[in-house]
């Protein structure tokens, strides 16, 4: 859709021109196409895509909403790196060569820069919602909600899912939930008033064990959530405590459960 400001960009002192090498087309016929775009101060990749839409290719498919890094819609791979295009400034990229903009690789391509991310919504449905402890008093202290608020910053841009090799290279979409949904589960598990345990789900259905903590997800998170250190590792520890603790295992053996 159009950007209200691309006209401005050209009126207020064009400094340069950039070439955007944008992936166009579908899974069968898709290929990179070059577009020349006038560059204005402070311009981001999404501005350049809007300029292409508004002046050269009105059917260019790209998702976006807030253009302020708050909604997580405009994810793509810029020069091979998963980024929010609304926060990727052209002046942070080498302009003497084409800027490549490609769709996320971990999800099926629909058209141009748009992929089918519906799998994420299906995974999300598997995670039981917040369930308050019975008879709970609705009091919480800032020190207890701080760490959960970090997870709740997630804007569901799915860049962490895109970069995760378990999904990206090994396509384990059937047996693995991905960093986004470890963060979401951590949110619920560490909520001071939540009364459910989701560790079995993490172990059996979300495949947390498949994560070998390479921290790629943490590196690309635009919200700077410490996905690996603060969500994934503590959740792994919970699973170990619950399912692999030698004493608990021994008791289980005797009880035959």
């Amino acid at each position: 859709m159009p950007d209200s400001n691309d006209g401005d960009a050209m009126e207020t002192g064009v400094m340069d021109e950039a070439v955007l090498r944008v992936f166009r087309g579908g899974p069968e016929d898709g290929k990179p196409v070059d577009y020349r775009v006038p560059v204005a101060p402070g311009m981001v990749v999404l501005d350049a895509l809007h300029s292409i839409q508004g002046h050269q290719a009105p059917d260019l498919a790209v998702r976006w909403n807030c253009k302020a890094g708050k909604c997580g819609s405009c994810s793509a791979e810029v020069n091979g790196r998963p980024r929010l295009t609304c926060k990727t400034r052209l002046d942070s990229l080498p302009l003497d060569q084409p800027i490549t903009v490609s769709p996320l690789k971990a999800f099926p391509l629909i058209k141009d820069l748009v992929t089918d991310v519906s799998w994420n919504y299906k995974i999300n449905k598997k995670i039981p919602a917040f369930q308050p402890k019975p008879g709970v008093e609705w009091k919480m202290y800032q020190r207890d909600v701080d760490r959960v608020q970090e997870f709740r910053k997630c804007i569901e841009c799915f860049l962490c899912q895109d970069v995760c090799h378990v999904l990206r290279d090994h396509s384990k979409h059937q047996s693995f939930g991905g960093p986004r949904f470890f963060v979401r589960t951590a949110c619920l598990e560490m909520h001071p008033l939540d009364g459910l345990s989701r560790t079995k789900l993490l172990k059996d259905e979300l495949g947390l064990g498949l994560c070998n903590i390479t921290k790629c997800c943490t590196e690309v998170c635009p919200e700077e959530i410490h996905i690996t250190d603060n969500a994934i590792i503590p959740l792994k520890e919970r699973i170990v405590d619950e399912f692999y603790d030698p004493i608990t295992m021994l008791i289980r053996k005797f009880r035959g459960s």
Binding site: M1, M43, A68, S118, W138, Q142, I155
Partner: protein, 572 residues
């Protein structure tokens, strides 16, 4: 012959999945209705996600003296008494419970020292009233509602756009739309429909609004025969980013001022002393927006034509904790570190106070079975909305509309969708592909944004508004010949051909209403009529279609009961 459209059937169809749509869906489902929820984007990306500062609710967690009466009075004063008093009353009374409900569904607000929901100061609110999560309250709200709704079993139709409401005689029967991904058409049978599609910010050039804000719901309702109320009241948020050009208009939360931020001009003067010495930076949005505009116009603006907003006197850690997304936004997009220096800000088109006229209790429009809530509906905010009253509006009236729509559906019969209306809707959508001449939608859209910005902006005159009407007339035949390129698959240029029609239609409603109101009130400032007018104080503007004509009439503002008048008279 009707093509075999993909058809879905629900008791209640909700259009729009922001806060109002989601809250309506949750309530309608709780009432036992089968609920469908349609949204133009992916779920969780609606405009609510961008709300920053907080939810206004008189919980009294920080300022114990706060109560619904004070919130009611603040809302009415902020709206310059043009608000629907009953909506303002219900809103103030019910907001606290709606916030507590969110917490019970898993939302995590910032806390007071004694473990309650923390509340912050905001423009026009007498007490510290805004429940918040740093500066990302909207994200918390939408995620909470989204998870709740999905777990409860709402059918969600993502990236699906409704282009026409289908009627059976006077009643609503369903809707026609298309799937963005493949471009296939789809129909929905429903006994009642709730419109929760937000506003029309994309008709202006400098706006905080996303691509979705194209007045769809207002246009759908208007075309179905519903009345629109007080369309002249468009809120320009005082603080949008002004530099660099690409980010112009992006919102800078009022929470910056709520947390103590000051506004200065290029002489270093705290200019709000001139415009509202009592409330200063925390005056209402209409006042602050006009003040910044005036400072810039009179040559006292910042380097890039705005004002300086400074929060750097607060400790660095405090700024980063309470305003994290502002910190990142300025650092990454404007190379400004807000912990050490000022931001440059200026007005940006932000919110529509006007909209579909609804019944205060139920949110029902003048069409039986057609409901509206949130920004798409009108009445609560009168001539100017207070910051923080939007998120509470979504919750209070989303719930009410969802309940009423479900109740309506219980006694309504289901109608077949009329083939003629469906075919007409399909023809309209396909026409842009059949044209080989004509312009693309983007070109026309840019022109619309340019003249709405310059002619129907913060300050208005008879001459400008007349000129805008003329420009709109000139656009209409061009919109009728607009062309789309490529295939029907995920095609934004095609999509805009439809959105453009809604924007032009509703821009006309705004301009006609603005022309009629010969006074200045709240967000509507007429240079040629700079004062309040006693007659207009008691009149609402109503836009309705008669035949093919857009007509405008005035109706008396509903009379307020004596006990509420007493609350307003209290001098606090």
């Amino acid at each position: 012959m009707t093509p075999p459209y993909e058809t879905h059937e629900h008791d209640v169809l909700i259009i729009g999945a922001g806060g109002a749509g989601l809250r309506a869906a949750i309530e309608a489902l709780a009432q036992g209705a089968r609920v469908g929820l349609v949204c133009k984007s992916l779920l969780g990306k609606a405009h609510t996600v961008m709300a920053e500062g907080g939810i206004a609710a008189a919980m009294g967690n920080v300022d114990k003296a706060d109560d619904w009466r004070t919130h009611f009075r603040d809302t009415m004063r902020g709206g310059k008494f043009l608000n629907n008093w009953r909506m303002a009353q219900l809103h103030a009374q019910e907001a606290p419970e709606r916030v507590r409900e969110l917490e019970q569904w898993g939302a995590l607000f910032d806390r007071t020292d004694d473990g309650q929901i923390l509340q912050r100061a905001f423009g026009g609110h007498t007490f510290k009233r805004l429940c918040h999560v740093g500066d990302r309250t909207g994200l918390e709200l939408i995620r909470t509602l989204q998870d709740r709704g999905v777990q409860q079993g709402i059918d969600v139709f993502m990236e699906c756009t409704i282009t026409r409401l289908i009627k059976d005689g006077d009643r609503i029967a369903g809707a026609f739309g298309y799937w963005r991904e493949q471009g296939r058409f789809v129909t929905f049978k429903a006994k009642s429909v709730v419109i929760a599609t937000g506003g029309i910010g994309k008709a202006w050039k400098i706006t905080s609004n996303s691509w979705e804000y194209t007045a769809d719901g207002m246009a759908l309702a208007y075309e179905a025969g519903a009345e629109l109320l007080d369309m002249e009241f468009v809120q320009f948020h005082p603080t949008g980013m002004v530099w660099p050009p690409g980010v112009q208009g992006i919102l800078v939360t009022e929470a910056v001022r709520g947390e103590g931020g000051t506004l200065k001009n290029n002489r270093g003067e705290r200019f709000m002393e001139k415009y509202d010495p009592k409330r200063m930076e925390l005056s209402t949005r209409d006042v602050v927006a006009r003040a910044i505009y005036t400072e810039v116009k009179e040559g006292r603006g910042s380097i890039h034509g705005g004002a300086y907003l400074d929060i750097s006197h607060q400790p660095d850690d405090y700024v980063k904790k309470k305003l994290p997304s502002m910190y990142h936004q300025f650092k990454e997009l404007a190379d400004v570190d807000i912990t050490t220096g000022p931001m440059e800000v200026g007005p940006t088109c932000h919110y529509m106070m006007g909209g579909i006229r609804v019944d205060a209790e139920t949110g029902q429009s003048t069409i039986p079975g057609l409901f509206a809530a949130g920004e798409a509906a009108a009445g609560l905010h009168g001539a100017n909305r207070l910051g923080g009253n939007s998120l509470s509006d979504l919750l209070v009236f989303g719930k009410r509309a969802g309940k009423a729509a479900a109740e309506y559906a219980k006694s309504a019969r289901s109608s077949e969708l009329d083939a003629t209306q469906l075919q007409d809707a399909e023809r309209e959508m396909l026409a842009p592909f059949e044209r080989t001449t004509g312009e693309f939608a983007y070109e026309i859209h840019r022109e619309l944004q340019d003249f709405m910005q310059s002619l129907v902006g913060i300050f208005r005159t008879e001459e400008d508004l007349q000129k805008a009407l003329g420009e709109l007339e000139k656009l209409k035949p061009r919109v009728a010949r607009v062309r789309a390129d490529g295939s029907r698959m995920f095609n934004p240029g095609w999509h805009l051909t439809r959105d453009l029609r809604s924007m032009v239609l509703i821009s006309e409603a705004v301009t006609r209403s603005a022309l009629a109101r010969r006074e200045s009130r709240g967000a509507h400032s007429r240079i040629d009529y700079p004062n309040f007018d006693d007659t207009w104080a008691k009149q609402n503007n109503i836009i309705v279609q008669r035949g093919d004509q857009m007509t405008l009439e005035q109706r008396p503002v509903p009379e307020m009961p004596a006990e509420l008048k007493e609350i307003l008279a209290e001098n606090k």
